[in-house]
């Protein structure tokens, strides 16, 4: 049985400009030990999806669809029961380690909190466990970090503390929302390695959310590409990067400046990311797509298979695949 099953998840948020359809009809299954990456640009709905899984959507949000964790329907749980799941069976690491830690509490106090809440350990055991967690995430000399306040730590150290907090109750699913975006490149590598190591060590499932194709490519087994609140392409990471199917994925890939090449022009996607409150009808990417036909503007594309477990939501998949000049670039 899958650890996490998400069935036609849809999130709508009321905004000044109208109803924002932040997540539309997203379905997937996550197996034990599997790592899933969700990639997309700002405003594609990827963070809202993470918050929906945690049951932490902002007030007024409308959530539809099913979320099943280990056979347990999370949508049916009341708030109190959901609190026992959060931080326990499903845990999350956030983007901004600067602001995601409470400035007036010590690191130790914040890491021990989920343990005291869920594990049933006594104060002393929880303390010992906290110290070993801090050590595990690479905060050498854990006693010093236990008593330190967040402002005394560097960005990387804070993110390590966040990871310790998320790991404390041995969650089955770890959600990491842009865990390295706020960090320097050389620190980013350390944090990604740490996440990867603890995930495989503890046989957890991972959902990694990032805007960075490179981070996704290097970290996860399976990748979802989101655009305008919907998944436009999904498949095993090697397959997706070997055969980019959706025109958006192709464009995104081409637009990323890469280290290995000389000074040249980048391929660009014209236009800008659409507002979730004002999505075009039909294919949401049609306005920016060079292959778009009339039908693309009126008809919502379904997911079509392009390979084993690899599919894309595009009405002009054949043309897209044929015109693709990427994929085998390296």
């Amino acid at each position: 049985m899958s650890v996490l099953e998400v069935d036609r998840l849809t999130v709508a948020l009321p905004m000044v400009a109208g109803l924002a359809r932040a997540v539309r009809d997203v379905s997937f299954r996550l197996e034990r030990g599997e790592t899933l990456g969700i990639v997309g640009e700002s405003g594609c709905g990827k963070s809202m999806m993470a918050l929906a899984l945690m049951g932490l959507l902002p007030e007024g949000a409308d959530l539809r669809g099913g979320i099943t964790l280990n056979g347990c329907d999370l949508r049916a749980l009341d708030e109190k029961a959901m609190c026992r799941v959060r931080g326990n069976a499903i845990a999350m690491v956030f983007q901004e380690p600067m602001t995601s830690l409470n400035p007036v509490h010590t690191i130790g106090k914040q890491v021990i909190e989920p343990l005291m809440l869920h594990s049933g350990l006594g104060r002393d055991e929880a303390n010992a466990e906290t110290l070993s967690l801090l050590e595990r995430v690479g905060l050498v000399d854990p006693r010093r970090f236990y008593g330190a306040y967040p402002h005394q730590l560097s960005g990387g150290q804070r993110q390590r503390a966040m990871i310790a907090m998320a790991l404390s109750c041995h969650p089955e699913v770890l959600i990491a929302d842009e865990p390295t975006t706020a960090l320097d490149v050389t620190i980013q590598g350390q944090i990604l390695d740490l996440i990867r190591d603890v995930v495989s060590e503890r046989q957890m499932s991972l959902i990694l959310i990032s805007h960075d194709l490179g981070v996704i490519a290097e970290t996860v087994d399976r990748v979802f590409v989101m655009y305008g609140g919907a998944v436009v392409e999904q498949g095993p990471t090697p397959d997706v990067f070997a055969r980019l199917a959706h025109p958006y994925t192709q464009g995104l890939f081409a637009a990323v400046p890469q280290v290995g090449e000389g000074r040249r022009r980048l391929r660009t996607i014209p236009g800008t990311v659409p507002e979730l409150a004002d999505l075009p009808g039909g294919c949401t990417f049609a306005d920016r797509c060079s292959l778009a036909h009339e039908t693309c503007r009126s008809q919502v594309p379904d997911m079509r298979s392009v390979g084993e477990n690899h599919s894309a939501a595009c009405l002009r998949l054949d043309a897209a695949m044929a015109s693709s000049s990427f994929g085998s670039r390296r």
């Binding site: 945690m54 326990n88 409470n102 869920h118």
Partner: protein, 316 residues
């Protein structure tokens, strides 16, 4: 941290010094001189000279300033011109009323405001929240002296539960004394609590939006637990600032309220002194009130150091 405290202490001392200089200049130099002010324009020159000597006005101003401040520091406040008793005696007697009044009012303010503010924030966008906001809108618009009059009208004139004014003194027993302070304290506290409740509510609502609150919820803390453990302390930081400012308003308010309820406190004293042109008393009491305000603000700074561990780093 130590730098922060040292800096605040230096400011505290400097403010006190500045306040004393301003009061001295305003009351001893500007009007000409106190003897002139006491006797008025058409006094006999000989009486004027005599009074000047009696008040020590023939000495240089700097001398007089330092002996005044030095005296205040050692408890010698000079002698009242109208009462012919040491001002310190008058002041101590009056402080026994004004300080308890201000403290009771402040306590009522804080309890009511933080309670209501938290309640409103926790029940954001509900009837309860709306009720608190309406109460606070009206409370802020309420002149405290008018509210005092209304309280007298209702609880003293109509119901007869409380005395309509006056103070029996602590010697008459704690309960009768407290009883006559209760309505004035409520009159003072209502307005301040209305303001503070609003500040608390908006501060809590602001803090609830912080990322670390989301982190706390992601750990599995319930809304209420998050509120107590993660929101409250952070939200209190701006609330404490306002509390400090409010204490100043409360002290100023006691001057008014003591007049409403005919309470023999510092406020009444300073009024009678102005009416009697007793500038020695005015000078001492005004400095005392200003000093109390400054001391409270210094205490607020100390409270920061307790609440916010970032202080040392932020100030650096």
């Amino acid at each position: 941290m130590s730098v922060f405290l040292a800096k605040r202490f230096a400011i505290f001392v400097a403010t006190l010094f500045g306040a004393s200089v301003v009061i001295f200049l305003a009351l001893e130099i500007l009007p000409g001189d106190p003897a002139y002010a006491i006797l008025g324009a058409d006094a006999e020159p000989s009486a004027y000279e005599a009074l000047r000597r009696e008040l020590g006005l023939d000495r240089p101003a700097v001398d007089r300033y330092f002996s005044w401040v030095g005296g205040m520091l050692t408890g010698d406040f000079g002698v009242s011109y109208t009462y012919s008793v040491p001002v310190s005696e008058l002041v101590v007697e009056r402080l026994a009323l004004t300080v308890p009044l201000a403290v009771i009012a402040m306590a009522l303010t804080v309890v009511a405001a933080v309670g209501l503010g938290l309640y409103a924030a926790a029940h954001h966008n509900t009837i309860g929240d709306w009720g608190v906001m309406v109460f606070s809108q009206f409370g802020i618009a309420l002149p405290n002296f008018w509210f005092g009059i209304l309280l007298i009208l209702f609880f003293s004139v109509y119901l007869g539960w409380f005395p309509s004014g006056g103070f029996p003194g602590w010697s008459a027993g704690t309960w009768p004394a407290l009883k006559s302070l209760l309505l004035p304290a409520v009159a003072l506290a209502t307005v301040q609590a209305a303001i503070l409740a609003r500040v608390t509510r908006s501060s809590v609502l602001e803090t609830i939006r912080e990322d670390y609150v989301r982190t706390a919820r992601a750990k599995g803390l319930t809304r209420t637990a998050t509120l107590w453990r993660h929101v409250l302390r952070n939200a209190l930081i701006p609330v404490v600032t306002i509390m400090g400012l409010q204490f100043a308003n409360l002290l100023a308010g006691t001057i008014v309220i003591e007049n409403v309820f005919f309470l023999p406190g510092l406020g009444r004293l300073v009024f009678q002194a102005i009416a009697n042109r007793d500038l020695v008393v005015v000078k001492d009491v005004v400095l005392l009130l200003a000093a109390m305000v400054v001391i409270v603000n210094f205490v607020v700074d100390l409270a920061y150091a307790v609440i916010d561990p970032r202080l040392g780093a932020r100030d650096a």
